[in-house]
Amino acid sequence: MLMQKELLKSFVDMDEAEAVRIARELVETEGGAVAVLDTCKEAMEEVGRLFEAGEYFLSELIAAGDMFNQIMEFTLPKLQGGEVASIGTMVLGTVLGDVHNIGKDIFKVMAEASGINVIDIGIDVPHEKFVEAIKEHKPEIVGMSCLITLGVDSMKRTIEVIEEAGLRDDIKIIIGGGRVSQAVMEHVGADAWADDAARGVRLSKELLG
């Protein structure tokens, strides 16, 4: 338990070297991989909370995401099937015409840390690719990201294409990124919006009920 506490503290305090060192040690102990996973998820949640409270900034989200990925790289292979519980599946992509990935990537790692199984279909994603991914992965949620103004109508069109494919009623759609707002959400026909990753993860969990 002490190591978990130390891992949590160093992770939340952004002490990368120390957090990775402790995680490497802890992961080798009995039941250590599960402990590392749970602790890192808790740490990511705390980082998200600090971000929403205005104490942490995008810089901390990026650094935390990088730490999480580093630690998961040597932790996940040690976990047994069934030990990684998922609370739902999300197909995630930056819409056609927009190549911005930073916001999407921050959101992705935070969503994964919160237990969502994220299918990342990339940037500049054609409308049809969203449809194919929905058919293939049967997600509860679809997340669409855009940073540039062109993305607003690209999201609208993507949602129309999903509707035309008869898939709209099966999913909830959350939009994210620098250009979204309540008005944009209504304009494009999405179910939720978030202009930061922490809020996005919180709302996604709500959408999953």
């Binding site: 900034f57 995008l58 810089s59 990088d66 015409g97 540039i148 103004t149 062109l150 607003v152 008005a183």
Partner: protein
């Protein structure tokens, strides 16, 4: 021929902007106008035509600026993407810098930059041009950047980012520079025609300098943002020293157009909203502030675009001398900024492009009325969309509503 009426109109527009810059009340709230991909859409041409064909670009601009009049020097010509590391590489040759600092479509056909994509080339002909970015420098190379940023940008970075100049000194690279010169001369002549056409409509032009915050040059052009964010924790001293080494090159970039008559320098910020106040004050602001102060010392006003949320760092603006220039805000509430900066800084912004796309004309009218009620008194305010680009799909009835509201409520 520029008619006396057009000349008078241009002078009124310039005076309106200048009064706001001088923190006074003009006759009307100055308005920068809307722009971006909606201009070719309105003219019925593709984005590809608008970005590659000067004649069509000029016709589209004339139509737009006739139907939708605005006050600032219009942003016309072919749109480009930021390429300041190459500007630094050629900083001793201003005639080259003005062609490489921002790369437009036809110029990219010559230089073949690896981090940009254009409509009708790599993209659909109605897509918006894209800055893809990417990592062009390894952390081990900070020492080289610190030792001589100009040499580093020229010898190390440029061959990595320009397909035409990947092998410096080769026949291919010499041919690229020769073609660059021909294209630059062609574009200068075309731009002169476009400016003439707009001056006949009552617009004015004022050259202005452009540079970046030193840390943004590193994150946007060299390391990319996520890597730079990690560098702040992994190599803090190197990052700091590199930003310091870039102060002089940035000042040089900003001031080089003074000879051509520039009185203002534009600095678009990028990394500001990513950083905590502690990081901002340690890594970002000291060198940015130094650049701004040196530009002011050189007799320029500075316009800084504070991208994203700048709320956490707002008070640092007060460290600059009153009348230093214009703070252009994207997401930060201009009302909140006015409370803090009135009488010190000209404030620019006020309407979210997402609102222009997604609200109704009546809602836009009401929002602008309310905004002007609060922002206009006391002057020092320029009305502007929060970012430069309205997409092709922007409803024209909403565009009209914005211009009509400015006309209705903008009078002092």
């Amino acid at each position: 021929m520029v008619s006396p009426e057009a000349k008078k109109l241009a002078e009124e527009r310039a005076a309106r902007m200048q009064a706001a810059l001088d923190l006074k009340e003009p006759d009307r709230v100055p308005f920068t106008g809307l722009g971006g991909d909606v201009i070719p859409a309105y003219a019925g041409i593709t984005s590809y035509e608008y970005e590659f064909d000067f004649e069509k670009n000029r016709q589209a601009a004339v139509k737009w600026f006739t139907d939708f009049p605005s006050d600032s020097a219009p942003r016309v010509g072919l749109g480009g993407l930021d390429n300041q590391s190459m500007g630094v590489a050629f900083q001793d040759y201003p005639e080259i810098v003005s062609g490489v600092n921002s790369v437009n479509g036809p110029m990219n056909d010559v230089l073949k930059m690896k981090f940009v994509r254009f409509p009708g080339r790599e993209l659909d002909e109605n897509s918006a041009r894209q800055f893809i970015g990417g990592k062009n420098m390894e952390p081990e190379e900070y020492d080289q950047l610190i030792a001589d940023p100009v040499k580093f940008c020229f010898e190390v970075i440029m061959p990595r980012i320009s397909g035409g100049l990947k092998d410096l000194g080769s026949p291919a690279s010499l041919a690229t520079m020769a073609r660059f010169g021909l294209e630059k001369a062609r574009q200068d002549a075309e731009m002169a025609k476009t400016m003439q056409a707009l001056m006949e409509l009552g617009y004015y032009f004022a050259p202005r300098g452009v540079c970046l915050a030193p840390l943004d040059l590193i994150s946007d052009q060299l390391r990319d943002i996520p890597n730079l964010i990690l560098d702040l924790r992994r190599y803090p001293d190197k990052v700091k020293a590199a930003a310091e080494a870039l102060v002089e090159p940035m000042v040089k970039m900003g001031t080089m157009s003074i000879k051509a008559g520039a009185k203002e320098c534009f600095i678009p910020l990028h990394l500001n909203e990513y950083l905590s106040p502690k990081q901002y004050n340690e890594f970002y602001w000291p060198t940015l502030k130094e650049v701004i102060l040196k530009l002011v010392e050189a007799g320029m006003k500075v316009q800084v675009f504070f991208e994203g949320w700048h709320d956490a760092h707002l008070e640092t603006i007060l460290e600059l001398p009153a009348g230093w220039g214009t703070a252009y805000f994207e997401k930060t509430d201009v009302r909140k900024a006015k409370k803090l900066l009135q009488g010190h800084t000209c404030i620019m912004g006020g309407i979210d492009v997402s609102d222009i796309i997604s609200l109704t004309p009546a809602q836009l009218d009401e929002n602008i009325k309310k905004l002007f009620d609060e922002m206009a008194p006391g002057g020092g305010f320029i009305f502007s969309p929060n970012i430069g680009t309205c997409p092709r799909e922007t409803p024209i009835e909403n565009v009209r509503a914005v211009y009509e509201a400015v006309e209705k409520y903008g009078k002092y």
